[in-house]
Symmetry: C2
Subunit: 280 residues, 2 copies
């Protein structure tokens, strides 16, 4: 049997009891390490499980499915993923490949940022399409995610913005030389995301007169959701651009313009400004 097991928000003990029992009985256990990050070193996980873990990077997950799935028709093999197994397209694809090979599979669900984001008090069912904010570089500054935030704002829905993660990215130099050298991992902060949003907002200024989103619009910055050192800050987009929430992972939510009184009351505990009657 092939098991795809969600680890939840990244602390070793966030795995479910069912998931842990399966990990202990498997012949091989892989950990997918590029669509998200663990909240602890791999060694801590190995100590907790009492068994070794094989790291699966992008190459192994996207091109080495055969290797991971090998033998899982007869024995038990697990692929661990941070969050819920269906959080990333890669894993859906992985299940299809198991099916092609007629390998039986089972999925063990867990919390992911897609539902744990409710911890800021904004109601989950009021979220519209989720967006991803990518790192910009000198020549590539995509902003199509802004249109989705705009659509959500126009229809009074919240937007969860997932922030870019760069893990095991080859350096430009190494690509040219044909041998693999990697950049240090980077995790976009709420400040970096807010800075990019401000650039977009200023560009759209003339067109939309800042009615959709402007530097005074509210946003919610979240760091390390579900961990003991979780932080949530509610501020204007302008202030978020200089807010330091510490280590990864970070996320941002752009709330709907009209919120339920209970949502406002919950957000207030994370804000320095008075949210009642706030309308930006």
């Amino acid at each position: 049997m092939f098991y795809l097991i969600g680890l939840g928000l990244g602390d070793p003990k966030d795995i479910t009891v069912k998931g842990l029992e399966i990990v202990k009985q498997c012949t091989r256990v892989y950990l997918e390490m590029y669509t998200s990050i663990l909240g602890c070193p791999k060694e801590e996980l190995e100590a907790f499980y009492g068994r070794p873990i094989l790291l699966a990077d992008r190459d192994l997950v996207e091109q080495g499915a055969d290797e991971i799935l090998a033998g899982s028709g007869e024995e038990d093999v697990a692929l661990l993923v941070v969050g819920d197994p269906f959080g990333a397209t890669t894993h859906t694809d992985f299940i299809l490949r198991a099916k092609e090979k007629k390998i039986p599979y089972k999925v063990i669900h867990n919390a992911s940022i897609m539902n744990a984001i409710g911890c800021c008090g904004l109601q989950l069912y009021k979220f519209g399409e989720t967006v991803s904010i990518p790192y910009w570089d000198e020549t590539w500054k995509p902003d199509s995610f802004y249109d989705k935030i705009k659509l959500n704002r126009l229809h009074n829905m919240h937007t969860l913005c997932l922030l870019d993660i760069k893990v095991k990215e080859p350096t430009l130099e190494s690509l040219m030389r044909g041998r693999k050298e990697f950049m240090p991992p980077r995790f976009m902060t709420v400040a970096e995301a807010a800075q990019q949003l401000l650039v977009i907002v200023e560009k759209k200024d003339a067109l939309e007169r800042n009615t959709i989103l402007n530097e005074q619009s509210l946003c919610v910055g979240l760091a390390r959701v579900g961990h003991d050192n979780q932080r949530i800050v509610v501020s204007t987009l302008r202030d978020m651009a200089s807010t330091d929430l510490g280590g990864p992972l970070h996320s941002i939510v752009i709330p709907a313009k009209e919120m339920h009184p209970l949502e406002v009351e919950f957000l207030q505990q994370f804000a320095n400004l008075k949210l009642e009657d706030y309308n930006h």
Copy 2:
């Protein structure tokens, strides 16, 4: 400390290792039993935890917060909820009340239908606002959720439809007599939801010429997500109206008109009709 602990999808072993450790150390453990249902009898949970569980019905959760929170400044008290703690407004409200009383609290996240719905292969970030489909009766047939499905369809987003649950609903008779008698619990099936949707679709016919949703539109019916007897069926709305997926809980997804090839490929395994080039 007051703990709000998500039980995940309802099997006893879906609790996280962290959650289980906390349950074992608490003085009192309550189980919230009206916004969702467990996949097993309460006794099975008690046997697994090795301790008694107090049932918390709507009255106790919504009006008896004082009773549940009593003493949790000094000792450890847990409220268990199926899914993730922030899935229902009630629980957000509960945390605010703990804060008012200056009781420290901690939330243990878990999977909920809001992220586990990814098991059908539709990408989570492409879901728009979630809707709830309520039971209709002779005189009350609300259909405002249709407008949200419509908006999602127009903007090429999937819609998760949560189906009504009636637990511990007083009978009309008992309300008039002033003593509490309850109706047997009811859980809306995918067939019942599809039947109500068909009624709405037929009513809107003249106005919209069935361009948004019609009886040939695709829908995904899901039952007991995350359990060993999970079922997923992809069919037309018309066929879903006579599809029996067995016991609760059920959910329906109305997919976006345009889907990613990977989404189509994944859905195909649950369908009798050929999905490629399907466009309704």
